[in-house]
Point group: C2
Chain length 137, copies 2
């Protein structure tokens, strides 16, 4: 990963946690909508910065997660920001397909607290079955 090595400086300024990860928030650059929150390790941030598409670290699968690789819902990265403590990233992205969530919704934050309950307040745009029904799977 030559490109990533060459860019070690900005990677060193990130305060990775004890697992070598930081939270990364994805925000739609056009609408301002918060799409999702996932995790990045050093390698995923290096690849994201060099390739321009969001690559996260999947904690459940314990491997790099190229967002959209199975759904087609890639996130083209327009800007990468770092917070004051250096321990959280913000990606401003163009969300391909207008769907970030694996449930087929625009955003993963589709539940809103109403009184004592979480109420679903965003529609499913495309069913998960339809999203993941691509030939390559």
């Amino acid at each position: 990963m030559t490109k990533a090595d060459a860019k070690a400086g900005f990677l060193d300024q990130v305060s990775w946690n004890s697992d070598g990860l930081v939270p990364a928030i994805a925000q739609d650059v056009q609408t301002g909508r918060i799409l999702m929150m996932a995790w990045m390790n050093r390698e995923s941030l290096a690849i994201t910065a060099s390739e321009g598409y969001a690559v996260y670290w999947s904690r459940s699968r314990n491997k790099l997660w190229r967002k959209g690789e199975s759904s087609g819902h890639l996130q083209q990265v327009r800007e990468i920001r770092l917070d004051c403590d250096g321990d959280t990233l913000l990606l401003l992205v163009e969300q391909q397909g207008g769907i970030a969530c694996h449930t087929g919704r625009a955003s993963c934050f589709y539940r809103t607290l109403a009184g004592d309950e979480w109420s679903t307040t965003q529609p499913v745009i495309k069913s998960p079955e339809a999203i993941y029904e691509s030939p390559e799977l």
Copy 2:
């Protein structure tokens, strides 16, 4: 904390991590700007929901953090959202004073990746010295 106990249901639906915490993103409800990311435990979410002002859990000080208690920069909470996995919260807030960051900037995400470097792209609105120079300190 009677109110919190009464609302145990929605608290139980949050997937707290092994430390009993989840990340909470604060977004300005009017501008859509991402202000900060902090952490919440069960008690801080219960209080936030019942009182309507953001209360986080400070991992460095290991105690409840009533946002704005020393700076005056309270966050009035208009909406609380939960993501698909139940392990991240999103708060839509009105940021009092227009400053969320302890550096005196509107947002904590004031550094943008430019080439191989993090570049500061947001101005200080009010110096930290001025912010934290209140009589009660």
